[in-house]
């Protein structure tokens, strides 16, 4: 059996490679920040984040393409639709035990995806939904000419998206940090550890869990916008449950109960996932894709064994595995 034959490192010096990795990582930062708020700080196990992302993305796409809305008006509306959906899922199911809630959310997410797949007149089904990103392209052109005026002669085509994704992700990280360190966040952490203790002290815990879920829905919707823009079209395949699970891998990698860990985890995860594309094995492309995920799995196993709190998590505040 022969082991890796040709591993080329050219890609790692290629700016274009890092731009596209950066876009994926930044999108996942937004996506996973929602999971961090839910799982890491509120103790609610949300397995439906891909569904909130799908609702946001499709609401935006359908409003623009089918209802002829302005892109800029469709964005906030789609966020509100995602929040509404989050509350709809959360209101009956957050009263359940954590594991039932997890099942309810993954079911809700699959309902969204399968509806998108079959509601072809509205969503385009697996043919995809196109043509929602004209306004974005105009903005990207403006950013590009701005970059040129700054003295960058030939900016990377995707760089404006990279820029906007990361600015959004950083703003979200800072805001969540601020909110979680506040008295509001203190109640969330109490709910995370012992809901009855919080209730005995006069806190309306259901309201806090719903707020946490609503914010996660918002972040999911934002991630959905960027997925849509990055792909130039919308397909149900982009919102498979696997998306949520990679989000969880990012969460564990970066560390629970740390927002900056989410950013670090997403960067590391996507560097590994995309970087391993360049490992040249004498096997079919399909198998090579599988090998990439095996490497991710191995990294996670090693992490659990040697650093269960992840890169930035606090051991004292570990919420899983004790």
């Amino acid at each position: 059996m022969t082991l890796p034959l040709g591993v080329t490192f050219e890609a790692f010096t290629d700016f274009g490679f890092w731009t596209s990795v950066g876009i994926l990582a930044g999108t996942y930062v937004l996506f996973t920040l929602g999971l961090q708020l839910n799982v890491g700080y509120t103790g609610i196990v949300n397995f439906g984040q891909a569904g909130f992302m799908a609702i946001g993305a499709y609401a935006m796409g359908v409003l623009v393409v089918k209802a002829d809305w302005s892109f800029w008006l469709a964005l906030p509306t789609a966020v509100f639709i995602a929040i509404g959906f989050g509350l709809l899922v959360g209101l009956p199911s957050l009263r359940l035990r954590a594991d039932y809630f997890a099942i309810a959310t993954i079911a809700a997410a699959e309902i969204v995806r399968i509806t998108a797949l079959n509601l072809r007149d509205v969503t385009g089904g697996n043919q995809g939904l196109f043509g929602f990103d004209d306004s974005w392209n105009n903005l990207a052109d403006q950013i590009e000419s701005w970059l040129v005026s700054l003295g960058w002669s030939d900016p990377e085509q995707l760089f404006p998206l990279f820029l906007v994704v990361w600015v959004t992700a950083l703003i979200a990280t800072v805001l969540l940090n601020f909110a979680t360190k506040s008295p509001w966040g203190r109640v969330l952490r109490a709910v995370r550890e012992d809901e009855d203790a919080a209730r005995a002290l006069g806190k309306n815990t259901l309201a806090y869990k719903l707020q946490s879920l609503a914010i996660a829905s918002t972040l999911g919707a934002l991630a959905g916008f960027f997925v849509a823009i990055n792909l130039n079209f919308l397909t149900p395949e982009a919102f498979l449950p696997a998306f949520t699970f990679i989000g969880y891998a990012v969460l564990v990698l970066g560390g629970l109960a740390s927002y900056w860990g989410v950013a670090a985890g997403a960067i590391v995860m996507w560097t590994i996932l995309e970087g391993t594309r360049f490992i040249d094995l004498p096997i079919s492309a399909e198998r090579e894709a599988a090998v990439r995920f095996m490497i991710v799995g191995l990294v996670l196993i090693l992490l659990m064994a040697f650093r269960p709190q992840g890169m930035f998590g606090k051991k004292e505040e570990m919420v899983l595995g004790d």
Partner: protein, 281 residues
């Protein structure tokens, strides 16, 4: 003295010992499967009193606490707190009305620092609403300062001051009990329901807790209802004792009366010696 400073931050107490019930429960019923854990329990708790709730294991004392404070929904019956019907109200509403409970198995939040446990409990923190973080940041900060100061004072009283910044997970069982008591006081309650507050605390700190309880009663007009197995504590520190067995109240009265009550002796000790002659350890 630190205790004095704590008392100053709280508004003046209502006139003490007027004989009016602050809590009146009647006909409460709560089943688990076919078993009636609380089976028509009825009693009054006088305002500004220290009342002990005793009874053999399985008498329904903790279940009763859970029903009164809204953690369990009563199937029937009435709970009047300060003349307000609170039966089947959710726990956080009951707590905000001023009746706050502690737990038999402590619920100190181990993954939060001790000081955060305390500050969490304070009422009227505008910053617990997300929009106020933007709309009223100054009020939020001011209240945080106020609350932190009070929390630190209370921690000193219970000799937890040095542990303020430690995660509550490092505390001993007894320290957790004290933290839970102190935390309940942070809510500025009118009435405290304590589920075995003395269990696992060393006698010195236990004495301090009892002393503090009496002080809060006399200085601030607070009312206490507590479940306790230590008969020395029950007989020595309560104005009234309520005895439960099999989900019902079988006797109530002054400690001395209850101690000699034949029904109590039968239910509690299965006959034999009078209660309190030999406190269980």
């Amino acid at each position: 003295m630190t205790d004095g400073a704590v008392a100053e931050t709280i508004p003046e107490a209502p006139p003490a010992g007027d004989g009016q019930p602050i809590l009146a429960i009647d006909g409460l019923l709560k089943h688990f499967g076919g078993i009636a854990a609380v089976n028509g329990a009825a009693f009054d708790v006088e305002r500004n009193s220290v009342t002990a709730l005793i009874g053999p294991n399985g008498a329904g004392k903790t279940t009763l606490f859970n029903v009164i404070t809204g953690f369990y929904r009563a199937e029937r019956g009435s709970v009047l707190f300060q003349d307000q019907q609170i039966v089947r109200r959710p726990p956080h509403v009951v707590a905000r009305l001023g009746m706050v409970r502690t737990f038999q198995i402590t619920k100190a939040l181990a993954k939060m620092p001790v000081i955060d446990n305390m500050m969490l409990a304070a009422p009227a923190q505008p910053g617990e609403r997300l929009y106020n973080l933007v709309l009223r940041p100054a009020a939020t900060r001011a209240r945080e300062r106020e609350v932190r100061e009070r929390a630190e004072e209370l921690l000193e009283v219970f000799q937890l001051g040095k542990l303020a910044d430690e995660y509550a997970g490092v505390l001993s069982g007894g320290q957790r009990k004290l933290l839970e008591f102190a935390r309940a006081l942070m809510t500025e309650p009118t009435m405290l329901l304590l589920d075995e507050p003395m269990a696992g605390i060393n006698p010195t700190l236990g004495g301090r807790l009892l002393e503090h309880m009496q002080r809060l009663r006399s200085e601030r007009g607070m009312t206490f209802l507590f479940i306790e197995h230590d008969m020395e504590v029950v007989m020595g520190h309560s104005d009234k004792v309520i005895v439960m067995a099999e989900g019902r109240v079988i006797a109530q009265g002054a400690p001395d009366e209850v101690r000699r009550d034949q029904r109590v002796i039968d239910a509690y000790l299965g006959g034999g010696a009078a209660i309190g002659s030999e406190p269980p350890r």
